[in-house]
């Protein structure tokens, strides 16, 4: 159990509160904090996404409501709350109405186990990573239910793609996380972060396992339905994907779940590969704890910004490219990586040698992966073309020459 919980319990019991009431209060405080913080984070995430994408596209983005447009999302939510929720005729009532609830439910549950700092983890269970893996599937179920239940052909097509994309990419995602668990020997997020504290808090697993980290990032993009893997809601093909028939707040809930799942993946990635709360100076008395929490948030938002950057600049993949990339490149590579790592770790070698061998395996995986992608691109005959050549004035506002 996390430390904050024990501190709160001790304080309450010390104040003369019976133990079972103290337990109940501590539980409710923690759970309410998680339940409220997650949607509040989403407000910032939506604003951040719109602002960054706007800048990438040479626009200003929201700037009217509140300072820097920060309150734009709240205004949007108020608007969406006052909209009518349409029940399509011949939709499957249960599946249609349960899907948005389930999608938010699944993401909120994930927030329970991600760490903030040492001793400040919602629930530091001993199977934290497995918990993330297991509950990540609830969102897939929700998308599938929405696609099937809407009685809309576009939504159904999107439901097929949910099966194809989200299910497929879950395998390399989970296997790349397994690489870390194999090396660390624990599934507890608190311990994973503690083990990355060598070298002044910079002994992060991303330096040891760059291949696994890269695969994790790519799969996190796919799992959170971000470009280049946004085939589920490809506007030009499927209009809005599986949530095409949803309006008002029910649509907003899919939106919320999508943002939060991207953020949770960034958070898990930061905790597993970027050292969690570790960094220079986290062991200092006094400010160390705040530094640690700050590091955790900075790392998470850094990964999230990277996701937005990819989202703003990459074109969408085709379905067959997306599927062969997963099953013919990522899955064999991760299975190979896991096999290599388990053999290396069972051999009775000194720890530095094991570390070097793991690193070699990861670099090999990265090399093979990048080579395979490059070959596929050459076979397809893609050429990168600059969108704006310096002498093209179309669609831009140019300063008048003096």
């Amino acid at each position: 159990m996390a430390e904050w919980y024990q501190v709160l319990m001790a304080a309450l019991v010390g104040a003369g509160v019976p133990e079972w009431i103290a337990t109940a209060i501590a539980l409710l405080v923690g759970v309410t904090a998680i339940g409220l913080v997650a949607p509040l984070i989403a407000l910032i995430l939506v604003w951040l996404l719109r602002k960054v994408i706007s800048r990438i596209q040479d626009r200003i983005g929201p700037n009217r409501v509140g300072p820097f447009g920060l309150l734009q999302t709240i205004a949007d939510i108020v608007k969406l709350l006052s909209k009518e929720g349409i029940n399509p005729s011949r939709a499957d009532f249960m599946a249609y109405n349960l899907a948005p609830i389930l999608s938010v439910f699944g993401v909120l549950l994930l927030f329970a186990v991600v760490p903030v700092t040492r001793g400040l983890i919602g629930v530091d269970i001993n199977v934290g990573v497995l918990y993330i893996v297991a509950l990540g599937s609830i969102g897939i179920m929700a998308a599938l239910m929405a696609g099937w239940g809407s009685n809309n052909k576009y939504a159904l097509l999107s439901g097929f793609r949910v099966v194809a994309q989200l299910l497929s990419y879950e395998i390399p995602l989970v296997l790349s996380m397994l690489a870390v668990v194999l090396y660390a020997g624990t599934m507890r997020f608190g311990e994973l972060a503690e083990q990355q504290g060598n070298f002044l808090g910079l002994g992060w697993y991303v330096f040891l396992m760059p291949g696994a980290a890269l695969i994790f990032f790519v799969c996190a993009l796919a799992e959170s339905e971000q470009t280049p893997f946004d085939l589920l809601e490809a506007e030009s093909e499927l209009i809005a994907g599986f949530h095409i028939e949803y309006s008002g707040m029910r649509f907003a809930m899919f939106f919320l779940a999508q943002f939060l799942s991207g953020f949770v993946f960034a958070w898990v990635g930061a905790a597993m590969f970027l050292g969690g709360w570790q960094g220079p100076g986290v062991d200092l008395p006094g400010i160390g704890g705040f530094l640690a929490a700050g590091y955790m948030m900075i790392k998470t938002f850094a990964i999230y910004l990277l996701m937005i950057w990819v989202r703003g600049t990459f074109p969408r993949l085709r379905v067959d490219q997306m599927m062969s990339f997963c099953w013919k490149i990522l899955v064999p590579l991760t299975v190979g990586l896991i096999s290599w790592q388990m053999v290396v770790q069972v051999l009775d070698l000194p720890i530095p040698v094991i570390a070097v061998l793991v690193l070699v395996g990861n670099l090999l995986v990265m090399g093979i992966g990048l080579y395979a992608v490059g070959r596929a691109i050459r076979q397809e005959g893609f050429r990168t073309k600059r969108a704006f050549t310096p002498d093209s004035l179309i669609g831009t506002v140019q300063p008048v020459a003096e």
Binding site: V31, E84, N97, S324
Partner: protein, 126 residues
Amino acid sequence: MNEVANTPQDFLPLLVIVVVALAVAGIVIVLSVLLGPRRELEAKSEAYESGIRPFADTRRRFPVQYYLIAVLFIIFDIEVVFLYPWATTLHNDALKKVSLAAMGVFMAVVVIGFVYEWRKGALDWD
């Protein structure tokens, strides 16, 4: 290894979170039903098909590839469920040789199946 006890009580907060998360999601839906207007029209509740009146049944036969992918996923997902608890036994000196052998056999079987499926063309998408 860790002095923190692994008791079922550790999972009690998760049970509470399940209830709270469902409540949060449910309350938002109820709120939107209460606050939003309700003006039902026949045309409004029709499925959206780019402005054309919907025709034919939506739930019809679908390409078999999606089914194959789902079946393949189940196999790999089961493998993963075995792999995670196993991964922590690899740090136990008494167990690691045996567990490597056991998991090696299991993974070999899965990989042979995967290769067979690849050669059969189940992963081709056209």
